[in-house]
């Protein structure tokens, strides 16, 4: 049994989680400056990586295709990670059920398209439905564990994910399903080609990221969410109902998973376990982009998408996750706080 050492890890992690609240707030800078230098360095590194891939592959078509695919898939990773990072940044919950919420949205989308609705119109139902589910889960299951040690919520969300995954298996069976997008075809981009459905998923992810950013930065609700993320006691003192903010933020996170689920439905084989494909990558993206930073999640998603595709060229025959984790470990080593600091 390895549980003894696990408990040590968890205990250590818990101590870190509580203590980390203070340094966060000390770090949080009031100035809303754009970190141009850091962006320039990241862009330069990406360009170097692409040039090296070109040298390695010796074919511009392959590299252009890898970059195109990487950016398109990266946008979707970013959208999945945005919900996760929002929940972690505000509620301090490591939400292992995020992938399962995505799977739930996939099955919901499948059901809606079977009923004759167009895939992208299904967004109008799947997003509110997942928002509502988020409110119910937060108020009903997680509210009691708020402020408790990190592993409490972590185990609850892990349990929720197991329940959702196996309930889907029970009710829908294990046979793979798919959602067809009529008129889906290859669209040429420079020398490369990409499916229309992938491009639409990418554009949808960007639009939703923009909406979420505006919501957080330009509305009273967004200001309240950021206030709770920065200091929940302080937020309570100025009259913000943190219980409502917690529920709304969690629901925004699950709504992101819902939107991602509907957008990727035409791209993936729909099975109860499909969501977990995205889960591990989403966690990496969250840490990479700086926890709680919505824009960072999008940038992190793009970087991971590129790392995955270019990694396939550098290290042929290796799992795409290998290059993802190489980038991850490097970033953790050089910038443990993530590429961008918490926006809150």
């Amino acid at each position: 049994m390895t549980s003894a050492s696990d408990q040590d890890h968890v205990a250590a992690g818990n101590g870190g989680g509580v203590a980390a609240l203070d340094p966060d707030e000390v770090r949080a800078s009031p100035a809303r400056t754009v970190p141009w230098l850091r962006i320039a360095v990241i862009v330069a590194l990406v360009v170097v990586a692409i040039v090296l891939a070109y040298v390695r592959a010796g074919s511009s078509v392959v590299v252009v295709q890898a970059v195109t695919t990487g950016i398109l898939i990266g946008g979707v990773y970013g959208l999945v990670a945005m919900g996760l990072t929002l929940i972690f940044g505000v509620l301090d919950i490591v939400n292992f059920a995020h992938g399962s919420f995505l799977a739930l949205a996939l099955f919901l989308t499948f059901g809606l398209t079977q009923a004759g609705l167009h895939v992208y119109l299904a967004l109008a139902i799947s997003v509110p439905a997942m928002f509502l589910l988020g409110v119910l889960v937060q108020r009903g299951i997680l509210a009691g564990a708020m402020g408790k040690p990190l592993e409490n919520q972590l185990l609850i969300t892990l349990g929720i994910s197991l329940i959702i995954e196996n309930a889907l298996l029970l009710f829908f069976g294990a046979n793979p399903r798919s959602v067809a997008l009529s008129g889906d075809r290859g669209v040429p981009i420079f020398e490369a080609v990409a499916n229309l459905s992938r491009i639409l998923a990418f554009v949808g992810a960007l639009l939703l990221a923009g909406l979420l950013y505006l919501l957080l930065q330009r509305t009273r609700l967004g200001t309240a969410i950021r206030a709770v993320a920065a200091n929940d006691t302080g937020a309570q003192l100025v009259g913000i109902d943190t219980r409502v903010i917690y529920a709304v933020t969690f629901a925004l996170g699950t709504a992101c998973a819902g939107a991602a689920g509907t957008l990727v439905a035409p791209l993936v084989t729909i099975e109860p376990t499909t969501g977990s494909l995205f889960n591990i990558v989403a966690f990496v993206v969250v840490v990479l982009g700086g926890m709680g930073n919505v824009v960072g999640a999008l940038v992190g998603g793009l970087i991971i998408g590129l790392a995955e595709q270019l990694g396939g060229i550098y290290l042929p025959g290796q799992s795409p996750l290998l290059s993802v984790f190489i980038v991850f470990v490097l970033v953790l080593f050089l910038r443990p706080q993530g590429l961008f600091r918490r926006s809150a």
Binding site: G13, G16, A20, S59, L158, P176, Q318
Partner: protein, 414 residues
């Protein structure tokens, strides 16, 4: 930022939990002695949940149907018509869970095991079977290494990766030559595990004997891959005229979608033991893009009346089209039942000897009956060639197993 490290640790937690779950001892009751009560127990170990649940549940159903058929025909006659009882275990597709479930079924009195779909799980279960001296009949799991351990209690009904890769290359060469368009260059896209690698190696060796260039060979991780467009672009850039794909269902669909998007100039997409291209779901999921896809794979012989009856029974009972995995599980249970009949005893050691020396009819397309060699491989295990024609997979080669003629080149206007 200690939070970063907290989250990183949290990432490792599910892995640790999984490890814990696996090592938990299974409920132990009676020591495995064979028959308890009036029935003889056979253990069925398949992934009933997790990412391979669709196949696992099919295979478990196949084993159930075999037990029902044998019981309806009067049970094991040499043992006074004793009935069989199937006890099922869920491996979740995890080697450590499969191992503890195998131990549990043996302790509950199973005199033989069938399973398990994933090679890594089968490898662990074969160790448990060897330790307990209980025969284990592998229905699906192709890695050569499982039977390379010198174990005496493990048998395999399906062809090994090497047999699949070798026969796959021969079929491709013969079909292309018969069509007057010999294959020049094959690009290989395979999953990176022992299965894909072994198929690639055997295919490459045999293809080179026939004067076919095999290049490039591109590997991917079947568990996490989400797009194969870049890989198929590499295939297009290589100028190969056939793309060989060895993998599972989800990645097979991704490959077909990528081929449809990138449109490389291919004469055929040719699966070897591919988990997608010969399934009835595949043309439904990818639509017209899957038309013409080949798959050299072990397959239920739909030209046999008994197989057609089984397919109908499965459809009416489970409202689903039977897959070859379920037929292999069906056959594997019949192997154990025939051994019980022959041995006249439910003593696992005697059952094992009867399996090793026996010969059992099969519903899988092949040259003969199920008959095991000294290492436990089924000597008559061989694939046949399937092709998606008119939206459904059809048997096309060799000629004596063919339902339809192979179409080569498989694509009309590219």
């Amino acid at each position: 930022m200690r939070k970063t490290w907290t989250l990183s640790l949290a990432l490792a937690l599910p892995l640790a939990l999984a490890a814990c779950g696996g090592s938990a001892p299974a409920g132990t009751t009676n020591g495995g002695g064979g028959q308890s009560g009036g029935t003889i127990k056979i253990g069925s170990l398949h992934p009933l949940s997790g990412s391979s649940a669709a196949d696992g549940q099919q295979m478990d159903n196949g084993a159930k149907l075999a037990v029902e058929a044998i019981n309806n025909a009067g049970g094991i006659k040499s043992q006074g018509g004793k009935k069989l009882e199937l006890v099922s275990g869920d491996t979740q597709g995890k080697p450590e869970v499969g191992q503890s479930e195998a131990q549990r079924l043996i302790q509950e009195g199973a005199v033989g095991l069938v399973g398990t779909y994933q090679s890594a799980v089968s490898a662990n279960v074969s160790t448990v079977a060897e330790r307990n001296k209980v025969p284990f009949v592998i229905d699906v799991s192709s890695a050569d290494s499982i039977l390379a351990q010198g174990y005496k209690n493990t048998f395999r009904v399906q062809p090994s990766s090497t047999v699949l890769g070798t026969a796959g290359a021969q079929f491709l060469d013969q079909v292309a030559k018969a069509a007057g368009k010999p294959v020049k260059k094959v690009a290989v896209l395979h999953e990176q595990g022992p299965f894909g690698t072994a198929v690639r190696d055997a295919f490459k060796a045999e293809a080179q004997k026939a004067g076919i260039t095999v290049d490039p060979a591109i590997a991917y991780d079947a568990a996490s891959v989400s797009d194969l467009t870049t890989q198929v672009t590499q295939v297009k850039a290589s100028g190969a005229d056939v793309l060989m794909v060895a993998g599972y269902y989800r990645d097979g669909v991704l490959a077909a979608k990528a081929v449809d998007t990138v449109k490389p100039a291919l004469n055929a997409v040719y699966g070897v033991a591919n988990g997608a291209f010969d399934l009835p779901q595949f043309p439904k999921e990818v639509g017209a893009a899957g038309e013409g896809y080949f798959d050299a794979n072990y397959h239920a012989d739909m030209t046999k009346p008994e197989m057609q009856a089984l397919a109908q029974l499965y459809q009416s009972k489970y409202n689903d089209a039977i897959r070859t995995g379920a037929v292999l599980a069906y056959d594997s249970v019949r192997v154990i039942a025939a051994a019980l009949e022959k041995a006249g005893s439910a003593e696992p050691a005697k059952v094992r000897d009867a399996i090793a020396s026996g010969e059992v009819p099969t519903l899988i397309a092949g040259p003969g009956t199920i008959k095991f060699g000294p290492t436990g491989e089924n000597l008559n295990a061989t694939p046949i060639l399937m092709q998606v024609q008119g939206g459904a997979p059809k048997q096309v080669f060799p000629a004596d197993k063919a339902e339809a003629q192979p179409t080569y080149p498989a694509f009309k206007s590219q």
